[in-house]
């Protein structure tokens, strides 16, 4: 019972505050801003507990975002890359004669896309592995060289040539001990164990620094929404 009483008092207080705000500020006239503001409050209600308003907003969010996805992929992928080149601009016909390779360049991916739909047929379910193998294989092939460059070369090169000073020394010790922490095939005992331990210390310092650094970003998101509610919606502040 106590919970219910607290809830009622709480909501009355909020209502009173809300009405005074409406009177003091000049709330926006556009119904769209009102919709956005109400949906914002529905999502924030999740902080108190999972409730009807949050469920409504969540399900609406899923529906609208998938609807948006359908429209974007219909327009930018299906129409632009398959339908137009195939039937309208006919990119495979260059000054009069037919280019097989250009034609295939549109048909092959479309067929692979259709193969994806083979999952619906009970027997031929395995055909779906062909487009998946293509996406995973091509994706892996694309990632290997650029991963070498971006992840390994850039960072190793940077560790090699830092000014020879205490900080530089700490940098090198940090990189080496972190790498040693990720050694899998040897037991972390003795010298290896101590270095790995030093590695986890460096990792924890990095996580602490990254956490502390991110707080500002997260708070600024709330500031952004507060600005929307107080300025754009209620017109309370300049």
């Amino acid at each position: 019972m106590k919970e219910r009483k607290g809830l009622i008092i709480g909501s009355i207080i909020i209502l009173i505050i809300f009405i005074t705000m409406l009177i003091k500020g000049n709330p926006s006239g556009s119904i769209l801003v009102w919709i956005a503001a109400l949906l914002t409050l529905f999502i924030y209600s999740f902080l108190y507990k999972d409730n009807v308003f949050y469920k409504f907003a969540e399900h609406l969010f899923v529906g609208v975002s998938v609807g948006y996805g359908i429209s974007v992929y219909w327009q930018n992928s299906f129409i632009r890359l398959v339908f137009d080149p195939l039937f309208i601009t006919r990119t495979y016909i260059v000054n009069g004669h037919f280019h097989l390779w250009l034609f295939l360049a549109i048909i092959i991916p479309t067929l692979m896309g259709l193969l994806m739909l083979s999952i619906f047929t009970k027997k031929q379910g395995w055909l779906i592995r062909i487009p998946i193998a293509f996406v995973v294989g091509a994706g892996s092939g694309m990632s290997i060289p650029s991963t070498f460059q971006t992840y390994i070369f850039a960072h190793t090169q940077n560790t090699l040539f830092i000014t020879l000073s205490i900080s530089g020394f700490i940098m090198i010790v940090g990189v080496i001990s972190t790498l040693v922490y990720f050694f899998f095939s040897k037991e972390h005992k003795g010298v290896l164990g101590k270095t790995a331990n030093l590695g986890i210390w460096f990792i924890m310092i990095a996580f602490g620094a990254s956490f502390g650094y991110t707080v500002m970003a997260r708070i600024s998101l709330l500031i952004g929404r507060m600005n929307f509610l107080l300025h754009d919606w209620l017109g309370l502040i300049k």
């Binding site: 969540e58 990632s143 070498f148 090169q157 560790t159 040539f161 020879l164 050694f183 899998f184 095939s185």
Partner: protein
């Protein structure tokens, strides 16, 4: 005679030690004094000199690079350079580009197979221009078939491939293979067990990235064994997805795992489902699932962005056991703070070997370790070399040429 030799050795060692210590204590590196700027005289603008035009290397052709030396400009009134081009050495020059002050190179778009001549002039802020520079030699643009700047990536791939093949093949012979403990993966077993006891489902989030993201592939490799355990424990698993291809693959994996565990009937299609491809729509929907279905175990394995804490903190509110694993360095701090176990970076990629213990996969971990060992050796070597080289610099005021070339080689070895 021997004593003279010994003294000389001692002196070098002594100098080397002093330089090593002084370097460690010196906070900043070696300062090079700035060059002296003389007084400026009559303000007239000189033309750029030493014009070089050549086919841009390592490109798809149709591109010529022009380089030049900046003229003397004490009053720094030059705002930029105008580049002129013609197919005939003496006539018909047109302007083809303009670069701001400070850039001494210009890449010009051309047609392959045609010889072009270039000349430049500097432009001052008051609109006046310098006389034209001399005309560059003719240059023809061609596409290259091999990108010479990327040999280091090729060598690295070949070396790593050999390491991988060697360790994978030797692993087949079944030598005893050790993997150091990964707490998060050991905890998987009893985490799934706990959920079954409480009769609650297990929530498995395979990350928010696409199927070509290697972190997602690593996550799918863990989903297999986890789903098998879930089937054996006769529990249920929920796999919400953000990417359609990942959803399709995950459904295949879970279906096969239930088959292998001998309970094909327990698998139902809707265990693996699609929510939305919007990052925060997905986070909102998964939070809703956590609050309503109240899974006892939450697994977040794969690639995550800012929504990691949204999932982990809501999961923490419901009191579930949470195991997270990602290679997204910026999200690891939030998983460490909000989850019971966190699998950090490369440990995620060792997971499939760790769980399946198939010799070949465990063998590949050795290749990764070898890669790390090589990088550590290179770092240590380059550090020692630069110490010794600086030692020479301090003692004999010139850096040893042999050492400098090695350091130079190390520097270029990792050029991107």
């Amino acid at each position: 005679m021997k004593s003279m030799f010994v003294i000389r050795i001692l002196r070098i060692v002594f100098v080397f030690l002093v330089s090593f210590l002084s370097l460690i204590l010196a906070q900043e590196g070696l300062e090079v004094p700035g060059d002296f700027i003389e007084e400026d005289t009559l303000i007239n603008i000189l033309a750029p000199t030493e014009i070089k035009a050549f086919d841009t290397p390592n490109d798809a052709g149709e591109n010529i690079t022009i380089q030049w030396r900046a003229p003397k400009d004490e009053a720094s009134i030059i705002t930029g350079y105008e580049i002129y081009r013609s197919e005939d050495k003496y006539r018909g020059y047109e302007i083809v580009g303009f670069v701001g002050k400070g850039t001494l190179e210009f890449k010009n778009r051309t047609k392959d197979g045609i010889e072009y001549y270039y000349k430049l002039r500097a432009k001052a802020s008051d609109g006046k221009c310098s006389p034209f520079s001399e005309i560059s030699k003719g240059a023809v643009s061609r596409p290259q078939f091999f990108h010479t700047g990327r040999i280091n990536a090729l060598v690295a791939i070949v070396v790593f491939l050999c390491l991988l093949l060697y360790f994978v093949s030797t692993a087949k012979k079944g030598k005893s293979l050790f993997i150091r403990r990964i707490a998060g993966l050991d905890a998987l077993d009893d985490a799934v067990g706990r959920a079954t006891e409480m009769g609650k489902p297990i929530l498995y989030v395979p990350g928010l990235s696409s199927m070509s993201d290697v972190a997602t592939i690593a996550s799918i490799n863990i989903l297999g064994p986890v789903a098998k355990k879930v089937a054996e424990y006769e529990s249920t698993i929920l796999v919400p997805n953000r990417n359609p291809i990942v959803m399709t693959v995950a459904r295949q994996v879970v279906k096969e795992s239930f088959l292998e565990a001998g309970r094909p009937d327990a698998f139902n299609e809707d265990m693996v489902f699609f929510l939305t491809d919007s990052q925060f729509g997905y986070a909102a929907a998964v939070d809703g699932i956590m609050m309503r279905e109240k899974p006892a175990t939450n697994l977040f394995l794969g690639m995550f962005w800012a929504e990691s804490l949204l999932l982990a903190e809501t999961g923490n509110m419901t009191g579930a056991i949470q195991i997270a694993g990602t290679d997204a360095v910026s999200q690891l701090p939030f998983f460490v703070v909000a989850c019971d176990y966190t699998i950090i970076g490369e440990e995620l990629y060792a997971a499939s070997a760790y769980l399946s213990r198939t010799p070949m996969l465990v063998g590949s971990l050795k290749a990764q370790d070898m890669g790390k060992a090589i990088i550590i050796i290179v770092i240590v070597l380059s550090f020692i070399l630069s110490i010794v080289n600086t030692g020479f610099l301090l003692s004999t005021h010139i850096t040893n040429s042999f050492l400098s070339t090695i350091i130079e080689f190390f520097q270029n070895m990792f050029n991107v």
